[in-house]
């Protein structure tokens, strides 16, 4: 061990109680940072995942359809997305070519053409307004995982099969294999068979969506072989805006992102992140002040020893090193304890915050990078906090110390 390290360890060991208190302070600080950041990150990840579980990242529509929809319904409502309200669905011009252009945009991982419009579902004498969506099951599954959320049946849409939500099925008293009639605006209608029931975790969708084959929807909605929108999944959800711009540039169509549709959610997430960062900043500041104040006191208490060491030839750099190392050790050891504490808090929270079915409300995001980052911050803070005390120690005049014993 080097001279500086030997002395740093000794000084810390001698100041037993102060050292323990400071270590506890650093540990609590690091623990809070680890726990809080894991909690917020887990919460936000699951909020975004839940939201995007039943939404595409980008929706592409024809120009005027969007303008009219915004006039009719206002902008911020999630429900505004549901095409059922549009009276006469607008078609995307030359959609196979446009679909090809969208697919070539870097970052686009899946696309699904949609033929959507308003319809009525009729069973016996009960009738419900629904959103008829003609999709290709394999492609749509990659946008919204319907297959994964089926409660019964299959997501195939062959022949006159439809798949609908458990809410609608309950309203109309339907189960797999039952028949229902779909009627559209222009009086076109046909009889369909329930091929499956899904639960997308959103009441609105469960009560309104009826998924049919693209062909059947096009016929009922009088779209010929046209489609009304293209839904897109991208690889980096927080870069959806940039990709949407690119898509608009290439196709001349309107591309709306999940971020625009869920503006409230994003504002919420941002302010949550901001307050979490602020809390973490002040925790770090408190940790720094704790380390600094302990070392300042230690310099005063150890001024006699420091004076002796300087008299026998210890250099300014060595003297500073002894105190910088103490800060480093406090930061490192406190981090190790704090990581344990943070993990413990997170696990405790996970085991206590349970949904009614006993599963965790949301995952606490405990990754090793979080521990490394918190420890690195605390260690750097330890060193920085030690600078002022170290300089004080280095400036001590050995003659003074020796004179006054």
């Amino acid at each position: 061990m080097r001279f500086e390290l030997i002395l740093a360890v000794r000084f810390l060991r001698e100041g037993r109680f102060q050292t323990l208190l400071t270590l506890a302070g650093v540990a609590v600080g690091v623990g809070v940072i680890v726990f809080l950041s894991a909690l917020i990150s887990g919460l936000q990840t699951s909020l975004v995942a839940n939201t995007l579980g039943s939404q595409p990242h980008v929706v592409i529509r024809p120009q005027d359809a969007v303008a009219r929809r915004m006039l009719e319904e206002g902008t911020d409502k999630v429900a505004a997305r549901v095409e059922g309200a549009a009276q006469r669905p607008q078609k995307i011009p030359d959609w196979p070519a446009n679909l090809g252009r969208v697919e070539r945009v870097p970052g686009v991982v899946a696309t699904s053409p949609i033929a959507a419009g308003a319809a009525f579902a009729v069973k016996g004498d009960v009738s419900k307004a629904v959103a008829l969506r003609g999709v290709d099951p394999a492609r749509f599954d990659r946008i919204v995982d319907v297959t994964g959320r089926l409660k019964s049946g299959a997501f195939r849409l062959e022949g006159n099969d439809v798949v609908l939500g458990i809410g609608l099925a309950a309203d109309l008293g339907l189960s797999v294999g039952d028949k229902l009639r779909l009627v559209t605006e222009g009086g076109r209608s046909d009889v369909f068979t329930v091929g499956g029931l899904f639960d997308l975790g959103a009441k609105d969708l469960n009560e309104r969506w009826v998924l049919s084959s693209l062909r059947n929807a096009q016929t009922l909605l009088n779209l010929e072989d046209g489609i009304t929108s293209i839904e897109v999944r991208v690889d980096a959800i927080f870069e959806a805006d940039r990709m949407a711009d690119e898509i608009s540039d290439r196709t001349g169509l309107v591309a709306e992102t999940w971020m625009q549709i869920n503006r409230q959610l994003l504002v919420g997430l941002k302010s949550q992140s901001a307050s979490s960062w602020m809390i973490q900043f002040f925790v770090v500041l408190a940790v720094a002040l704790g380390i600094a104040s302990m070392l300042v006191v230690s310099v005063v208490q150890k001024s006699r020893e420091i004076g002796i060491l300087k008299a026998i030839g210890t250099s300014t750099g060595q003297t500073m090193g002894v105190f910088l190392l103490q800060g480093t050790i406090l930061g490192l050891a406190g981090s190790a304890l704090g990581c344990g504490l943070g993990a413990l808090l997170a696990l405790l929270f996970r085991s206590m915050a349970l949904a009614p079915d006993g599963s965790p409300v949301f995952p606490v995001d405990l990754t090793w990078t979080r521990f490394v980052a918190a420890s690195a911050v605390a260690t750097v803070v330890g060193v920085v906090a030690a600078v002022a005390p170290a300089r004080r120690a280095a400036r001590l005049d050995p003659a003074e110390v020796i004179r006054y014993g």
Partner: protein, 233 residues
């Protein structure tokens, strides 16, 4: 020139004043030299400036005027870091209040000057420190904490520490001032023996005339000036 006349330490017109608004001059121009291997007593009334002078000799402080040559080097040409390094290599200190590191063992205290210079402990320095402790009669206290030793034992550890680097000059400010006469004699005898064995020069501040008379030379300081120099025993 220092080598020519065999002086390890030479002071030329050394002055020292304290204070910035009210300036008090404590030393008014000291000229003296200490030869290699010489054993010098520094005596004088309280407040006459003995400790001040010793601190200047030991490079713990800088003079307000005059020059100090140590082992042939004009120390005023050294910066603070240079003086610190010089001090570590050339000078051993024994202070009145022993000034050991209380939480460290005797062995660690004696090793400390070597450790400071070399950066990390090695067997050679451990061996040398152990020999010195045996030499001062503390073989059974090698691993005792300094704070658990008696005053006389602590001062013997301090003597061993001062000699760890085998410096050409050892400065001792009333090294026996706080000891009973028995321990005081023991410490003084040790210093004298080391002086003969290692041929290092010693400057010792003392109020004890009997001890002063056992030195090679007595330098008396009164009111910041050298009053007279006696050639002792």
């Amino acid at each position: 020139m220092a080598e020519e006349d065999g002086a390890i330490l030479r002071l030329e017109g050394v002055r020292k004043s304290y204070g910035s608004r009210v300036v008090t001059e404590v030393l008014h121009g000291i000229d003296m030299s200490v030869n290699a291997g010489e054993f010098v007593a520094l005596v004088g009334p309280s407040g006459s400036g003995k400790s001040t002078l010793l601190n200047l000799m030991g490079l713990l402080d800088r003079p307000s005027g005059g020059r100090i040559f140590l082992d042939g080097t004009d120390t005023s040409t050294l910066d603070d870091a240079g003086q610190t390094r010089f001090r570590g290599h050339k000078i051993g200190f024994v202070f009145q209040f022993h000034h050991l590191l209380p939480a460290f063992t005797s062995l660690e205290n004696v090793m400390m000057p070597l450790l400071v210079q070399r950066g990390r402990p090695d067997d050679e320095m451990r061996q040398r420190a152990r020999m010195l402790l045996v030499r001062v009669g503390l073989e059974d206290k090698i691993f005792a904490r300094a704070s658990d030793l008696s005053g006389g034992q602590q001062q013997r550890v301090a003597v061993a520490r001062a000699l760890a680097m085998q410096p050409p000059l050892v400065l001792a400010d009333e090294p026996t001032g706080n000891l009973d006469s028995n321990s005081a004699d023991q410490v003084f005898d040790l210093l004298r023996e080391f002086n003969r064995e290692y041929r290092g020069a010693f400057v010792i501040v003392t109020h004890d005339h009997r001890m002063a008379s056992r030195c090679d030379r007595i330098v008396e300081i009164v009111d910041g000036l050298i009053r007279k120099v006696d050639t002792g025993s």
